[in-house]
């Protein structure tokens, strides 16, 4: 069974204090790893898609990297507005030619001013 584990569950940072969130996965035939940001009471907001080990993508203070077993979301000099839950999802082939995404439970990030 495909599994996605995110750590830590919760993270508190001071403004400007860089850190990393981890997403480890066990899937057969990875067809994409996705990072989303979710604010309370809202739907997830797409951040990145990574497809192969060694791939990296950046957006403002965020940088996502991928290995064969895990992905990291690096947050450089975070600001209070970066506070949110960060979700990781993997996609792998399922029966009938479909692709099923599996989400982790998320990391709740709070950045204090």
């Amino acid at each position: 069974e495909d599994q996605v584990t995110q750590s830590p569950e919760a993270l508190r940072l001071q403004e400007g204090e860089s850190s990393s969130l981890n997403c480890s996965y066990t899937v057969s035939g990875l067809r994409g790893l996705f990072w989303y940001r979710q604010d309370p009471g809202k739907g997830p907001e797409f951040l990145f898609t990574l497809y192969s080990a060694g791939e990296e993508k950046e957006k403002e203070r965020l940088k996502a990297t991928l290995t064969k077993k895990e992905s990291f979301l690096h947050i450089t000099a975070p600001k209070p507005e970066d506070s949110a839950t960060y979700l990781c999802a993997v996609q792998a082939p399922a029966s009938g030619g479909s692709y099923i995404p599996t989400f982790g439970r998320g990391t709740s990030l709070i950045v204090h001013p």
Binding site: F34, Y36, G43, F103, R105
Partner: protein, 116 residues
């Protein structure tokens, strides 16, 4: 451009009733997926529809069904509601992809369903 819109935003139902949730995708998006998100957990995949055909189904009972209309909007139906069905139901639309993979997905605000 309007994003993904879902209706209603909140709903309270009694055990045993049925419910219909609606979703309008972003203009031009032909793929719609439905997710259930219980408080404190990540979204759990229910269905994906592409060009009005079911392309993927998660591990949910047959009480859950969905359909997609010619204008690519979608409905999620849940029969015989249980207390455990209380959750945020999310709809996501994706750009057309010939392999039917869920590339970047754009989520709506969700429908908060409470079963009492």
């Amino acid at each position: 451009d309007a994003g993904v819109t879902q209706s209603p935003t909140h709903l309270i139902k009694t055990r045993g009733q049925h419910v219909t949730l609606r979703c309008s995708p972003i203009s031009g998006h032909k793929s719609v997926s439905w997710y259930q998100q219980v408080l404190g957990q990540g979204p759990q995949f229910i269905f994906q529809y592409y060009e009005k055909e079911e392309r993927g189904r998660g591990n949910f009972p047959d009480r859950f069904s969905a359909r997609q209309f010619p204008n690519y909007s979608s409905e999620l139906n849940v029969n015989a509601l249980l207390l455990g069905d209380s959750a945020l139901y999310l709809c996501a639309s994706s750009p057309r992809d010939r392999t039917y993979m869920n590339t970047e997905a754009f989520f709506g605000q969700g429908t908060r369903l409470t079963v009492v």
